[in-house]
Structure formats: structure tokens, C-alpha cells
Amino acid sequence: MKKLLVVDDAEFMRRSLKLIFESESFEVIEAEDGYAAVKLFKQHAPDVVTMDINMPGKTGIEAIKEIKAIDPSAKIIVVTAMGTEEMIRESIQQGASNFIIKPFEEDQIKEVVKKLV
């Protein structure tokens, strides 16, 4: 079974993604901030990561950096709201594989994730 690590400080977002991907036979691990993201990434070695880059504390971008340092081939999808081009660009430069913009449809997020695994 494929593993997905969902990183977002909003519980609602984590649960929504969990719902969506568990029905696609993914094992979903939740992290609520950048620290947990890196820790859980090390622990579970997921196949793909979705990362909210608008989190307080350790930002998504820092987490991306650290995860990429642990595993350069890590597949990270950045989740963000409109109007954050600069952040998206920086995430990509730090190694994010793709991005998706809120609000997104279920099919869109599924496509993005599945394409990477």
C-alpha cells in the first residue's frame, strides 16, 4: 500500500485528505507542522508528501528543504492558496515536485498525487 504524508496545520484539511486518500487505498499519516513533518517522514518514509506552505512556526518550505536533505528523491506536493507564486517558486526550487492550489477538487489532488507514485 502506498503511503501518503499529509502536512497541514488545519485539522480539517488533514482529515479531508485522509478521507480522500484512504478510499484510494493509501495509508495516510498526518503531521500538523513542519517539525512533525520531518520527524514522521524519517519514521515512515512515505511515497509522497503533501505540504501546506502556509503554516506558522517551521514553514512548509523549511520542511521541504529538510526532507529533501534526508531523501533527495522525496516526492513533495505543495498545497497553497492563490496569490503565493513566490512561495511556490521557492518550494519548487527547494525540490517540490508539483503544486496544487486551494480550493481544489478531489479529482485534481488525486491526479497530482497518483502521478507521482
Binding site: N98, F99, D107
Partner: protein, 772 residues
């Protein structure tokens, strides 16, 4: 909750989280209003609005999302700007209005309706207020335009991708380098095509020796978006990767359409490169002359050195790719459209996720709980992580099941340790083990019961809001104090106690507290004050509302009762307490005018009923001119009680041991019958009434002679009764179950219990047995 429609899981989660956020937000904003300082909560308020905005956007609730957005902007500005002097009252009002809108919308969602229309007025108001702030701070304008600090240095023009020291490409012998042309479009509505293109380019950077793409400028130039939309995105590159891995990479590009991956001959590639760069031949110098190109190791492999195999595009037939042999030789400006037409994705949302059994959840604190007993408790301080707390959600059925099981466990433990087989046996080690066992089970019982316990804080905060709104409306200056918010009660109580409390407080503000003028007239110097307090006492929770208003005038009440023919005895014989109880009669109201808030006379009787439903009682105390106090006593949920079993013929009754003072068998000469036929018994010089249980509950029993049965002295609230039963059967711990709602409520019976042997017993309620 009654019949709320089942919500699909995502909506339910949204509702649940939003309610939590809103409650927290309300608390923060009210606290800051009181303290006059927004700075502490500002950061958290900002984050809450941000989260609400994000969640609402996901659910397509535009009204709430935009409201969240403008509020977030406001607080973003406030938290970043030192020099601004915010108008706290205005901000509080704005935020509270926003909270109300969201609350109402969420409520509608719970009912299965749509949320409210976008609150245009409020949104504009917030925007205007923010504008007024920024306008005033124009000199500090640098703050308003902060996001522009992104590096202009980061401009990377990907004319030619830099070659990293990558073993894959550099150590490969030149002949294994292949040139590709990749063209594709992004699907309709995927947004930010230029940045998507950038991510595709960036992701392959390390795998290619050199690369060029059309359009050239993708990051800086927003026109690129249109260009890509119209003409697609084209990439040409040279790579040492296998064909397989190249195709695998481009397979991961999400939202792409019409992906075409073609091999090019090296000559064609060079030609393309030259045309692209506007040069005649590719040389190292020429490349270096390109401004702002980031070439770390300019290892441009000269075309001449490549032993190019002739690789004609026709040689490769890939079903997924439309191969056009002209493709490569056409000038760059004329990109052939080899892309299939986009097909609109009919994205139907599947809203039938699995429905949770209950539409309610309760949060369970992971750490220790607060107990009012003197047992050692593992009370760890909750982590102060503001909005992210250590909670997990548990469905209520699970908790109920857990409680039932623990109840049964306690009873079964009792059955083991009080087993008749062991009555006369001395078992020292066994006793030790039993004691230990007991301790553990008791602790388990306490913790499980406390799972459903929650602090009254939230409910009290609502009262805060009520008082604030009301005192403005009626124009009275009132201080409102909360005490004991952290006192915990069963979840059920939390749900039911809100309305009664609100009514009592409304009464206090409306009728109890005098208008400012009147207070002055009467020489009342101290400020009008209402105190809402909660505390544990014995096995009960006491919630009191006390005010320093004008008190309740017994005369007025008696007069009204008289006119309604409610008096059973002369006025003078009524104690104050009894007079106040008239207030709980339905239809009773001494207020001439019916105000918006109270005075309709349907309030206090409903309050009394609600309190009764929780197994509690309500007591009024008052002094004319000084103030009033409404005290609600609610027993803590005792799922398990220590009871004394007694029999009346075949029926078994259980009386809580706490209510029993003593028991004894009567002797004839102790029993007296008064002129009205009431039996009484003289104990140590005092007469107590006898209550024959078989009479009371109409049970046929052989045992009618007072000498044959047993008298049990029962006390409640200062009143004593002697219950007469056939026999006492012994002490037993029982699990209390409520009587089903279809059974009529009987005075004197508070519930039922399942005994260890399967029989059912009725639990006697002392309150109903002593008030005769």
C-alpha cells in the same frame, strides 16, 4: 441533539472544526476587550481567521471565506504594524458580527441548508476600517508593501540549464546523449501554468545536459500563462537518461494534456539551439556571452564530437505520442499544434463518504483529569499550544459502551468480593489482592466517568457574550464576574444548562438590576454586579447566579399568587422560600411589560423543568433592596451508587446509602398515630413520620404489622422520613439506569438498577420520599 440530518463526512468535519475555532475566537476577542489589549491574542486570531478562510475556501463557502479573508488581512496588518492605534471597541464589534454570521451559517449547514449569503455590508465595513488604518499610516507605507522583498536576484533565465556536477550526465560517454523535444499543454482551469511549467523544467534540470524551452520567460512573465495556454509548452533538451526514465518523468506531470515526447537528431537539436539563441554556431564563448545565464560548468558538448547515430523520429513509434517528422525543422515561432483537444473534465463530486454513526463527538484529554475526591490524581498541566491541543475525538457510543462496561465491572467486582461463599472464610492474601483490585477499579471508574466531564468554561463564555450584548441594549452598567469556569460537569449537563442559565441571567439583568438612575436614586454606590459561579460540593455541582440588584419582593409574588388562586394557606404562613417557588409556576410573571428578553412568564418553569431533568434542584434566595441568588444544584453523574437493598413483597428497592441515617425494627410502643391517622415513631424524644412503602407504591404484601418489618431512617435536605419495608437485603453497588421516557415519572423513584442476579430493582429517591 435531536433529529439533525446526517451530514457527509467532510461537511461534518468542517462544521466541527469551525465551531471550535469560532468559540476560541470569541473567547479571545472578548478577553481582549476586557483587558483592553489586543496584542496577546492577535497572532492567534490571525491564524484562526486564516484557517477558517482556508477551510471555507475548500468547501466553496465563499461568504465565510471572504469574511475570513478580510478579517485576516485586518489582523495581519495589526500584528505587523507597531504604530497603529486600533479602536478596540470597533474591532471587537466587527469581529463579533463576523462570528455571529459564521455561527448562523454553520447552524444552517448543520440543518442541511446552505450557509448565509455573503455578508457584503460587514465585509465592506471591515475593509473600510482597514483602509482607514493604512491611510493613517501612509508614512509607514513600507509595511503595507512588504511582500516585495523577494529577491530580484533569483531571476534565473533558463536559456540553457546549468549542468550540475552530476555523474549521470558528465561521466557518460558522449554518444549516449540523446536530444528530445517535449511538447504539452496544461488542462483547462489548472491555473498558474507558467509556474507549473517552471516546476517541470526545474524537476528535470539535473537530468539534462542542456535545455531550452518556449516560452523563454516563464516565472517572471505572466504573459507566459496565456502563451502556454494557447500554444502549449515546449522543451528541448539533451540528456543521458534512458528513454524509459525520460518518459517516466514526464508521466508525472500533473494536469498535462497531449504530452508528446520525441527524439531528435543531434543535428536538428543544434539547429534548434542556434535558432533559439540567434547564433550561427554554438561555442563556449557565445554561450558565456549570454547575459544572466547561470552556467556552473559550461560543458556544452560540441556537436562535432558527438558520434551521432542517425536517430530519425520516424524510427520510433510510440502509441502515446503523435510523431510528426516535420516537427523539428520548423522554426520555433511556429509551434505545431500536435496536441489533442482538451476534454472538459466532468468532475463530479462524490459526496457519499462513509457516514459516522453519531453526528457528535467529544474530545478526550490525553492527560490526567481533575477529580474532586482526595485520591491521588495524575493531573498534568495541559500544554499551552494555543489552538493545537492534545485532544482526540471519540464517538459518543464508544464512550457510553465504555461506561456501561466499567459499571458492570464494578458490580461484578462487588459480587466476587462479597460473595456468600467467602463470608466466613479468612483469606489474608486474598484480601490484600482484593483491596488492590478495588483501588484500581475505583480509579478506573473515576477516570471513565470523568471522560464525559468537561469544564463549564465554554458555557460561561456564552453568558459573557449575552451579558455584554444585553447590557448595551438595556443601557445598564453591569460588571459580570465568572468564577469556577474550570469546574467540570458531565457533557449532558453542559448541553442542558445553557438555556436555563441564560434565562436566569436575563431575568437578573432585566428585572433584578436597577437602571443606573434608579440605583443612584436609591443610594446604591457600588456598581451593579452579577456573579456566575460554579463549584463542587460533596457529590454535587453548584451553579449560582448572584446579583446586587433590587431583590425579589415576596409581597408582589403573594399578591399575584392570590389573584390566581394559587394560595393554599393564609399569606402570613408562607416562608420566603415557598413564596419564591411560585415563580416556577407556569404562566407566572409579575412584570407588567413584556420585554424582548423576559417577562413572558414562560421562562422560569421551563428552567425548573430543565434542571429537574438533569436530576438537580433550583433554589432562590433574595433580600429586597440587596439582591437575589439563584442556585442550581446538580448531582454529579453517579452511574454507580452504593445502595441498600430492601424488599417489599417481591419487589426490591435500592436506597442510596448516603441517604440512610439508621435502620431498626419498630416496637409497638414506639409507634404513635396522630389524630389524622398518620403513623409516627418516637426516636430519642423526636417524632418522625412513617412512610409505608407498600402503601406508597401500592404493593400487596403480607408484612403489614409494623413489628414485622423494618424502619429505615432516611434524610434529605433536613427532612426525615422513616421508610417501612419488609426486610433489608444488604448493601450492593448498583449501576444506575434512567427509566425509559415512556414510563411516567413517579415521585420517589429516580431510576432503576440491574442486580447481579439479573433482577431489576427500583432506586428510591429520598427527595421524593421525605417531602410529603
Amino acid at each position: 441533539m435531536t433529529d439533525t440530518p446526517k451530514l457527509e463526512p467532510m461537511l461534518e468535519m468542517y462544521v466541527y472544526e469551525t465551531i471550535q475555532l469560532i468559540d476560541r475566537l470569541e473567547q479571545l476577542i472578548m478577553d481582549s476587550e476586557v483587558s483592553g489589549d489586543l496584542s496577546e491574542g492577535m497572532e492567534e486570531i490571525f491564524r484562526i481567521m486564516h484557517t477558517i478562510k482556508g477551510n471555507s475556501m475548500m468547501m466553496m463557502f465563499e461568504g465565510i471565506a471572504e469574511l475570513g479573508h478580510v478579517t485576516e488581512d485586518l489582523f495581519d496588518y495589526l500584528r505587523k504594524t507597531e504604530s497603529v492605534q486600533p479602536d478596540y471597541e470597533k474591532i471587537t464589534d466587527l469581529v463579533l458580527d463576523g462570528i455571529d454570521h459564521i455561527k448562523t451559517s454553520v447552524h444552517q449547514l448543520q440543518e442541511g441548508d446552505d450557509p448565509l449569503e455573503k455578508p457584503e455590508g460587514l465585509i465592506d465595513e471591515i475593509k473600510e476600517y482597514l483602509d482607514s488604518l493604512t491611510f493613517m499610516n501612509l508614512d509607514d507605507a513600507t509595511i503595507a508593501e512588504d511582500e516585495k522583498d523577494e529577491s530580484d536576484q533569483d531571476k534565473q533565465k533558463y536559456y540553457i540549464a546549468p549542468v550540475k556536477g552530476d555523474e549521470k550526465t558528465t561521466s557518460k560517454p558522449p554518444e549516449t546523449l540523446r536530444a528530445y523535444e517535449v511538447v504539452f499543454r496544461f488542462s483547462e482551469g489548472c491555473e498558474m501554468e507558467n509556474i507549473r511549467a517552471f516546476s517541470v523544467v526545474h524537476g528535470f534540470k539535473d537530468n539534462s545536459v542542456d535545455m531550452l524551452h518556449i516560452p523563454k520567460e516563464i516565472v517572471e512573465d505572466e504573459n507566459a500563462i496565456d502563451e502556454i495556454k494557447q500554444n502549449g509548452f515546449k522543451m528541448l533538451f539533451r540528456t543521458g537518461d534512458s528513454d524509459e526514465s525520460v518518459r517516466a518523468y514526464f508521466d508525472t506531470v500533473a494536469f498535462s494534456e497531449g504530452m508528446s515526447i520525441n527524439l531528435m537528431s543531434n543535428e536538428d537539436y543544434d539547429r534548434a539551439l542556434r535558432t533559439y539563441l540567434g547564433l550561427d554556431d554554438v561555442s563556449e564563448d557565445a554561450v558565456e556571452a549570454l547575459e544572466q545565464s547561470e552556467i556552473i560548468e559550461p560543458e556544452i558538448i560540441e556537436p562535432e564530437t558527438i558520434e551521432a547515430e542517425s536517430m530519425k523520429p520516424d524510427a520510433f513509434v510510440d502509441e502515446n505520442v503523435q510523431v510528426e517528422s516535420d516537427a523539428v525543422s520548423t522554426p520555433m515561432e511556429d509551434l505545431p499544434s500536435q496536441v489533442a483537444d482538451t476534454i472538459e473534465n466532468e468532475i463530479g463530486k462524490d459526496k457519499q463518504g462513509e457516514n459516522l454513526d453519531e453526528n457528535q463527538k467529544i474530545d478526550v484529554e490525553k492527560q490526567g483529569i481533575q477529580k474532586s475526591t482526595d485520591k491521588k490524581t495524575k493531573k498534568s498541566k495541559p500544554e499551552v499550544k494555543s489552538s493545537a491541543q492534545n485532544y482526540i475525538s471519540v464517538g459518543i457510543p464508544k464512550v457510553d459502551k465504555l461506561m456501561d462496561l466499567v459499571g458492570e465491572l464494578v458490580v461484578s467486582e462487588s459480587m466476587v468480593t462479597r460473595n456468600p461463599d467467602l463470608v466466613d472464610v479468612q483469606l489474608e492474601n486474598f484480601d490484600k489482592a482484593v483491596r488492590q483490585h478495588r483501588i484500581i477499579i475505583n480509579e478506573l471508574q473515576d477516570i471513565v466517568m470523568s471522560i464525559r466531564m468537561m469544564p463549564l468554561a465554554m458555557t460561561f463564555q456564552k453568558m459573557n457574550r449575552l451579558v455584554r450584548d444585553m447590557k448595551k441594549k438595556v443601557g445598564k452598567d453591569i460588571d459580570f464576574e465568572l468564577r469556577g469556569q474550570e469546574t467540570e460537569v458531565d457533557k449532558n449537563v453542559i448541553e442542558q444548562i445553557g438555556d436555563p442559565l441564560m434565562h436566569i441571567i436575563r431575568n437578573s439583568i432585566d428585572h433584578g438590576i436597577e437602571s443606573n438612575d434608579l440605583r443612584e436614586e436609591r443610594g446604591k454606590k457600588e456598581r451593579a454586579k452579577i456573579v456566575l459561579e460554579a463549584k463542587h460540593s460533596g457529590g454535587d455541582v453548584w451553579i449560582t447566579v448572584k446579583d446586587n440588584g433590587q431583590g425579589i419582593d415576596p409581597e408582589k409574588i403573594l399578591s399575584k399568587a392570590e389573584t390566581r388562586g394559587l394560595l393554599l394557606k393564609p399569606k402570613e404562613e408562607y416562608s420566603d422560600r415557598e413564596v419564591y417557588n411560585f415563580l416556577f409556576h407556569s404562566g407566572f410573571s409579575t412584570k407588567e411589560k413584556v420585554t424582548e428578553f423576559s417577562g413572558r412568564g414562560v421562562g422560569l418553569d421551563v428552567v425548573a423543568r430543565n434542571v429537574e431533568a438533569l436530576g438537580g434542584t433550583i433554589i432562590i434566595d433574595s433580600e429586597v433592596g440587596r439582591g437575589s441568588e439563584f442556585a442550581i444544584r446538580i448531582p454529579l453523574t453517579l452511574a454507580i451508587i452504593d445502595g441498600m437493598m430492601m424488599s417489599v413483597n417481591k419487589s426490591i428497592f435500592v436506597l442510596p446509602i448516603t441517604a440512610i441515617k439508621e435502620s431498626f425494627s419498630a416496637k409497638e410502643h414506639d409507634v404513635i398515630v396522630d389524630p389524622e391517622g398518620n403513623e409516627m415513631c418516637m426516636i430519642r424524644g423526636v417524632c418522625y413520620p412513617i412512610l409505608r412503602l407498600h402503601n406508597r407504591f401500592e404493593i400487596n404484601t403480607e408484612c403489614r404489622d409494623i413489628n414485622d418489618g423494618i424502619l429505615i431512617m432516611t434524610e434529605y435536605d433536613g427532612n426525615v422520613s422513616l421508610l417501612f419495608a419488609d426486610a433489608i437485603l444488604g448493601e450492593q453497588q448498583v449501576v444506575v439506569k434512567n427509566l425509559s421516557s415512556f414510563l411516567e415519572k413517579v415521585d420517589g423513584i429516580s431510576g432503576c438498577a440491574l442486580l447481579g442476579d439479573g433482577r431489576i430493582s427500583l432506586i428510591l429517591d429520598p427527595a421524593g420520599l421525605v417531602n410529603m
